[in-house]
Assembly symmetry: C2
Homo-oligomer: 304 residues x 2
């Protein structure tokens, strides 16, 4: 079981070497992350993009493109299509966004012929190793689904539980969080949290334990949970997965942790045939490399 990002990184070394396919790879920060992932043995890469633009960037960064499989394709949309097809065909294990807008990138992910579409809803998961907390925290959805419906929340849970399993957490505890830990009909998110809890009890959501609504302290702080009364609860400060009410709560919390705390984190898009790495320009190299490591661990689990 991975209790920290370092555990997760060491887990990668036990996997067969993975390969990431990069769409429109002529992007400095992405090339730097891919190079570090290669050097650290996390993953090899196929770089699909405009070589006339890629080469000078690589030269400036001291990256030898000879270490990579490179596919020259000037057109962005075609490059993304070629890159995702490699993953679709099993020639690569994960798919990463380069210098292409998110909309076009997602279009390639969802392409019916060559993409990574499944019957599942796509969602985003962010895995955190953060100060003052033991164990990994899986935050979802902080970046993709704006106002998830109850049905979408079920999909988010299922997607994220799969990622937690890949990280060695056998029966993750899922906390649908809110401002309060009691059901209040005036707060629809608390009603939905209770419904999700019931669905899990009835076996409609499996592979995990769901208990909500929970305030964040009761979800992640054992002392606070014991102090405030944990009677009859299945989660007592020991949640693994935090399900957010909506993208605002999720995204603001995500950014509060990355900017105002000390943490490591990696993010992937899930609900796809293979892990999709969709980091943003503002994410550091470390976040991109961590995301590749997370992707490698998930890809290994999906193969089984």
């Amino acid at each position: 079981m991975s209790k920290s990002f370092d555990d997760l990184l060491s887990k990668v070394s036990g996997c067969s070497k993975k390969k990431v396919s990069v769409a429109v790879a002529q992007d400095g920060p992405v090339l730097e992350a891919v190079e570090e992932a290669r050097v650290r043995g996390i993953a090899d890469a196929v770089l699909v993009g405009d070589v006339s633009l890629m080469q000078p960037i690589a030269d400036e960064l001291g990256i030898d493109l000879g270490n990579y499989e490179v596919i020259d394709e000037k057109d962005m949309v075609t490059a993304a299509r070629k890159a995702v097809e490699l993953v679709h065909n099993g020639e690569a294990d994960m798919y990463m966004k380069g210098l292409i807008d998110t909309k076009s990138f997602l279009k390639s992910v969802l392409d019916k012929e060559v993409g990574l579409r499944t019957d599942k809803t796509l969602s985003h998961v962010c895995v955190f190793d953060v100060m003052n907390h033991e164990g990994l925290l899986f935050l979802t959805d902080v970046a993709f689904l704006p106002y998830p419906t109850l049905e979408e929340k079920v999909s988010i849970i299922e997607n994220t539980v799969e990622i937690a399993h890949a990280c060695g957490i056998e029966n993750p505890k899922v906390a649908p969080i809110a401002a309060v830990e009691v059901v209040n009909p005036k707060m629809p998110v608390t009603v939905e949290a209770a419904e999700l809890t019931k669905m899990c009890e009835e076996g409609k959501i499996t592979g995990c334990i769901v208990d909500g609504p929970l305030s964040l302290d009761l979800a992640i702080d054992r002392e606070a949970a014991k102090h405030k009364g944990a009677e009859g609860r299945k989660i007592v400060g020991d949640a693994d997965i935090l399900l957010f009410p909506d993208i605002h709560a999720g995204n603001i919390t995500y950014k509060a942790l990355t900017h105002l705390s000390d943490c490591k984190n990696g993010n992937i898009l899930t609900g796809t045939k293979a892990p999709v790495i969709l980091t943003s320009r503002s994410d550091s190299k470390e976040v991109k490399v961590n995301s590749l490591a997370l992707g490698a661990v998930v890809a290994e689990a999906l193969k089984k």
Copy 2:
């Protein structure tokens, strides 16, 4: 201008000595906080409550009730009424919750005869001094108004700007935050953020600069703000006040910072005639003392 909680505490020493009136004071953690505030010169206290219960608690904690004005009143509701009336009449400068449920306590705050009601909407502000960030951050509303309307958001801004002014921040920058920094009609909170910005430009909200919607990184991280493009924006990572979309986003962020970061914080209820300290049982003594210090600074400003 207070740039940290230590600045704020040293500001208190420049104020005339304040007095806090405590409703139903037979509460260990509250007495401990009040004692520390007294010893550190932050505020004296009037303790209103059941002395037969208060005395043994004080004895056990080694607190000499002889250092306090004590008003013996066994009935909780009457004790709260007596305690709030002292503030109403100007005999005390701020009002604090003891061992009384929040609903009854708020009823005393809003009492038309002896309470602290004004024509303003009540709101909650939490003042943070947090790692990786220079300057105080005012978070609102993370605990009181569940789903503020546009009108309520105007009141929240006005209330919080008054607190920022009291802390010496002359023209605070207010960021209505969201998951994104662009207006999206499918995300009502972004539309409201833009409306608040416009209202400030038109002089309908004064004493501050409002600029939203903003994602949290663009609101508080100068580097991120410059990197992502700050053109035409009035806030470039230098926000003082963070206005949250709703109580879920606010409360989860508040608890993420207090549990998963390193910070000092103090909270008060505002929109009242005098500062109201409504900390929760789970708040540490430090938070309660910081809240009293914040209340003292605000009470000093209100006198002027």
